[in-house]
């Protein structure tokens, strides 16, 4: 079992490295092109800080992932989406660098609170040998977003509206997120037995699958601090985190 875990760490390392590479290379700013830099009178280093502050809060608030276990997942997920949706939309109304910095900071916190909890939520619904593919599909949404983010931004900013184009960009890409928060609140099930789209018979089977894998039907609502400590003391997690 220990050996298997080590293999998993190496394996994940491989893909993690790939991910870092793609983040470094594939990014180009859409809002910068659309006139934000001139309107807010940003210096180059101020612009770099806008990028950096996001990842600072992204790292600092990583622990918020644990809230998936404390608060009902549909509420927590919807809350995160709502916060980053509002923050993202509010970027359209900023008038200076400081305001943009504050919003980017909040956005980092809200996004880290959402992403890593999803594989955990999915593990209530899928068995181990089914989970990998679904997590892969979930994670592939990130590169998918990158493939058309530029084209979408171009489409949005190519019109001649009454306000600055970069403000329109933030509005158009932020508002759907706010709407999706409501969708998540009403349609995301906390656990298989609470899924409205399953029939009673299917719920029984879904529950039995969970029990067969984890030994307990529900794992939400409390934190076992002993388990948490064990997780923190596990060297494998640290290797992944440091690299």
């Amino acid at each position: 079992m220990g050996k298997l875990l080590w293999k998993l760490v190496y394996f994940q390392e491989f893909f993690d490295g790939e991910g870092g590479f793609f983040v470094l290379t594939a990014r180009d700013s859409n809002a910068r092109i659309a006139g934000m830099e001139e309107d807010l009178k940003l210096s180059s280093s101020q612009y770099q800080w806008l990028l950096t502050i996001f990842y600072i809060s992204y790292i600092v608030f990583g622990f918020l992932t644990i809230m998936w276990k404390v608060i009902k997942p549909h509420r927590w997920a919807a809350g995160c989406v709502l916060v980053w949706g509002i923050v993202s939309t509010a970027q359209a109304a900023t008038h200076n660098w400081e305001g943009m910095m504050a919003l980017r900071f909040l956005m980092g916190a809200a996004e880290i609170a959402y992403g890593p909890g999803v594989p955990y939520l999915l593990s209530f619904f899928y068995l181990r040998h089914e989970l990998g593919l679904r997590c892969g599909l979930f994670l592939s949404a990130a590169p998918l977003a990158n493939t058309f983010a530029g084209a979408l931004a171009y489409g949005i900013t190519s019109g001649h509206p009454g306000m600055a184009q970069w403000r329109v960009l933030f509005l158009v890409e932020g508002l759907p997120t706010v709407v999706m928060a409501a969708v998540a609140y009403f349609f995301l099930p906390d656990s298989p037995e609470k899924a409205k789209f399953l029939t009673e018979e299917e719920k029984v089977v879904a529950r039995a699958r969970g029990v067969a894998q984890a030994g307990a039907a529900t794992r939400i609502g409390s934190i076992n601090f002993k388990e948490m400590l064990e997780g923190l003391l596990d060297l494998k997690g640290w290797i992944l985190g440091v690299s």
């Binding site: 700013s29 934000m36 993202s88 996004e111 679904r134 979930f138 977003a145 399953l198 039995a208």
Partner: protein, 119 residues
């Protein structure tokens, strides 16, 4: 007595094999042999852990024909039961695929769209 174990992973993964063409799948077969894509069956004794409503549920889950329930003694001495109707299970997994993954992935996609406006 309720000692349950989940059925072992399939020898080949049909979806996996259909997604990846043959040559690539040869490379990935190494990973499969490392058991990264499949899970080892895990024996779980449920009797001690579960609440009092469990036996009712188990009765419902155990397939109607007792003949189906294979009780095989393994090296470890665990008893295996084929206790979940595979048809229903397939339907359940399909529904999860249809309702859960697209929603969560869409949200993740929006997260990346929102953050990459400055980035």
């Amino acid at each position: 007595m309720l000692i349950r174990a989940f059925p072992p992973p399939p020898a080949s993964l049909p979806l996996f094999d259909s997604i990846f063409p043959q040559r690539l799948s040869c490379v990935l077969l190494k990973f499969k042999k490392m058991r990264l894509f499949s899970s080892a069956p895990r024996q779980e004794t449920t009797e001690a852990k579960e609440g009092k409503d469990e036996p009712d549920m188990m009765d419902a889950v155990v397939t109607q024909e007792k003949g189906d329930v294979e009780a095989v003694s393994h090296a470890g001495g665990a008893v295996r039961m084929a206790d979940i109707d595979p048809e229903v299970e397939k339907r359940v997994v399909r529904k999860f695929d249809k309702h859960m993954v697209p929603l969560l992935a869409t949200l993740y996609l929006l997260a990346f769209l929102d953050r990459s406006n400055i980035g």
